[in-house]
Symmetry: D2
Subunit: 311 residues, 4 copies
């Protein structure tokens, strides 16, 4: 049996030093953070492995955008699945707006009068929707006049973004498949509704992306899943894993969640459960991290970034 | 100030007696259950009000199907939004399969070999997918040869279901709008992928339902939102509420969730937050119930059902 | 495999009918409520079994007092362990005060000026401390002039309570052992501090109760543990279980908690973990219920009360 | 309004660089970590302020011992309140044993046969109790033959510990008041029970420490509260704060918890609630951090340690 070494904190220690201390203690949440860093390092070093990254929760307003962009730029993400809300917030920032630091102990009626939309203790000015409208007014006629899948539709948006610091833009530039089955459920969705109402022809198929994600899963030697939050992004990748080469499922897995298994939902399900479905390989390396992602993701990512020699 | 009356338990008491005791105590979780029952009763009695019901989580395997069906049959739900998974599980049962009582303390590798898919402590035989395939093989050619929205597509499935005890069937029969923006993320989605691969023509638009849900919201005098879990179903209804008549938002709100606000995600957001966005009316009556939905929903529903004289 | 029967709600159904429906579904939180009811029924019917009941959390302000009193009166609890806070709140009510229904969305500075102490959405008038002082001033000289254990000290308080509707009073009258290792951490503790400061002689030993709880555990044929919340009450009973006859541990176990295992603390630990320590019998019947206790306890108790024929 | 700056991760970044990035984002969990670091830095720099530190949860097996010792050595903690379990685990390590890295997915019956006690995914050999017995056998006769308060009793244990790396030892050496109202609820408690059974005279008063903690609170110009977990340690400090100079309550507050407010218990209560009671100063600086303490505490502590110039 390996002893639990008590964590030592030293002045000026680097994030990876701290995570290595967590590895030496090895238990509870600290142990999980450390295992996630180890597994993510191994994923990156495994050149046969493609990373399927699912991002749910208000992670762009939550300050996680640049980490995702850094991962995309460095080819640590090969298939990106997220919510319409995160893409809308990404577009909002790409078009020049900020999200703001606010408070949850606030009179929401007052915020409403001031046209401030609250996202827990983050704020967004409601006027961003005017900017979004202008953007789509300006570019919608340049969208292809044929049926697209959602990935193509999102790349098309990315193509018209000038900012270099955008998830949508990077995915477009690097041709990283970006899937968002619930895209209608978002500000972007509402913009398309508005344009359809104006008689614009935008044809996006609800099912057509499935072929792409299944094809990638099927033809990839090894697969890693990395979930920040649950929801549709996690579940969509999970179902694709059932169609992996030799039905092997994912070879690596990291999940950061604040949900719990006992309520039965997909978001809280342990990665282990995926073994029964063939979504996770029985011999895979995986860990569930039970922590606010705005704490856990930067911690894990900073540790791993420090370890990569060729970085 | 109103005293907290200690809850008294009596032999043979009815569910509504218990919920009324909870109302007299009025605090913590018990108080929230009681307020939810009061608000739901008021919603049902308010004939000008339409109920937008969002259902996330594995609620069909979780035993909640018949409650949802009962609500649909009794016109307590006017707009139904859910996940692809719940509709797939509904279809699985409609085609003659059961879900099973299992255990989470189990060797998932062994389950995989036995072709049992685990949903926390519920099980599903993997062979249900063969049944789903046969069903779609038999009916897919009868689907309309035109572009559908997701609602029409789901009604079409409902039309071909023989079982009377099915959410999809009831929604079809009663022409209750059923929205599922993330439908591709489900077993039903995978069936359509399979049929597209075989060259079948199924055209379902990703955005077309938005017009319907916005139109309903816009033309309804009063609106109630009722969320079991968060995810896309909650968020999709929330965004529709912004387009309500006079931009009033929802007049009533009930949310049953096990998530929490501090992590910033939509699933854990208090209904109060919606006021800032114009999704919830500042003068609306609403309550957040923090409880496993398989406990809270039956409790609330049984209490309210008992109160309705004309029922 | 046993199918998951969908829960049916009927007009006028009794609480036990509902819990039996939950038993037929058998999964997630509903399944756990049902198993807890079944186990508690079996505990009560097992005449060789003594029940060790641990009560943590603000359960008296939370409306659970009368359920506890009913259990004590009916001999469903043989050893009672709780926090100093619950006993203080019990005494406050026994001396004629109420707790009140309030709100958590409130200006706490304003409450402070109004001399209202907040317990989430419950309120207590700060003047209850004056009543407590008067009570102890009136009775303290009648307390025995010898070293007491905490149980004797608490019975002594109970002896001087006139109200029949008090946990402290019932435990005194029925000579039910009441343990509260953390008694100093409470309003009652502060009253004793005040009297010690005034020169009164009250001598209560910190360790002396251990002999009593260990003796009871050691000499009891079968043991049931029932935890509402965790903290000291749970842990204190758990450690006593290690000293049970033949080192068998508890034969039955019910735990209602909102904590979770992964953070490593005792409050969130699964009852199963106790097997490794010899606190829980490997062949025991036990269940962890993950739910707000103000919802779960009344539900379970009402169901079981209905089942007892001789009640 | 201050923009939410997206968090940037750089190769080789120090922990404090990361926490400063979290400060720039400012929202959700990351924002709370950053505010806790800022407040803790300010606490340390405020020479008029005494720090009341409450430690609950299995934090010694969880790898947090050395951080606590470092804080004690550096005079960052002036009043230390914890559980009997943490002190027992501290003593176990001081007497030469380790805790071990294990697994929660394990057969607890098998562990029981192997005499391994499980603490979630940490293990402890049951034979530590033999070592504890030997220790007390060797030293108990040297304990004072007079009534002690719990603090004196714990210092007495510390006096007999040879290891320098022990919480109990450091508190004894530095005469840091260490309070543990629930000491009977622990392995140390059981050892005293054993010695009392053997006829040894150990007299420890349950209430006598209250005078000390109240006196310290009363005579201190400014007060900081720092809670790792809730339970008795938090509540005991909270009640002492009511007796602060000018009834000002705490001037600073940091709470790391995984509990939540809505269930009404003290462990999950927001620090803000303390304002109504006079436990927290209305103008105080405070933050609630919702995170596994084994992640949050090392992160905050490493950041602050880096900031202190004179350290």
């Amino acid at each position: 049996m390996k002893p639990i070494k008590q964590i030592d904190i030293k002045k000026g220690m680097k994030v990876d030093d701290l995570v290595k201390e967590m590895s030496s203690s090895g238990v509870f949440g600290a142990g999980r953070i450390a295992r996630a860093a180890d597994i993510f390092e191994e994923i990156i070093e495994d050149k046969e492995c493609k990373v399927f990254f699912g991002l749910a929760g208000a992670m762009v307003p939550g300050g996680m955008k640049n980490i995702v962009i850094d991962m995309l730029k460095n080819n640590y993400i090969h298939v990106f699945v997220t919510t319409g809300a995160n893409l809308t917030h990404d577009l909002v920032e790409a078009l020049g707006h900020n999200h703001f630091q606010g408070s949850a102990n606030v009179d929401d009626g007052k915020l409403h009068k001031e046209k401030i939309d609250r996202i827990y203790d983050g704020y967004m000015e409601d006027k961003v929707y005017i900017t979004l409208e202008k953007f789509f007014d300006a570019v919608i006629d340049e969208f292809p006049r044929r049926k697209m899948n959602i990935k193509e539709f999102l790349w098309e948006i990315g193509k018209h973004i000038n900012s270099k610091n955008s998830i949508l833009r990077i995915c477009y530039e690097k041709k990283i498949p970006i899937f968002c089955p619930g895209i209608a459920d978002s500000g972007i969705g509402m913009m398309i509704w508005g344009n359809l109402a104006k008689g614009k022809k935008i044809a996006v198929d609800a099912f057509a992306d499935l072929k792409e994600i299944v094809d990638i899963t099927w033809t990839t030697k090894k697969r890693a899943i990395f979930y920040v939050g649950g929801g549709v992004p996690k579940n969509y990748i999970q179902q694709a894993m059932q169609f992996s080469d030799k039905q092997d499922g994912a070879n690596y897995g990291i999940q950061i969640t604040t949900d719990r298994p006992e309520y039965g939902g997909s978001s809280g399900a342990e990665l282990r459960e995926g073994i029964s479905w063939g979504k996770m390989n029985e011999n895979g390396k995986f860990v569930d991290v039970y922590c606010d992602a705005t704490i856990a993701l930067p911690l894990i990512y900073a540790a791993v970034k420090d370890r990569l020699k060729w970085f």
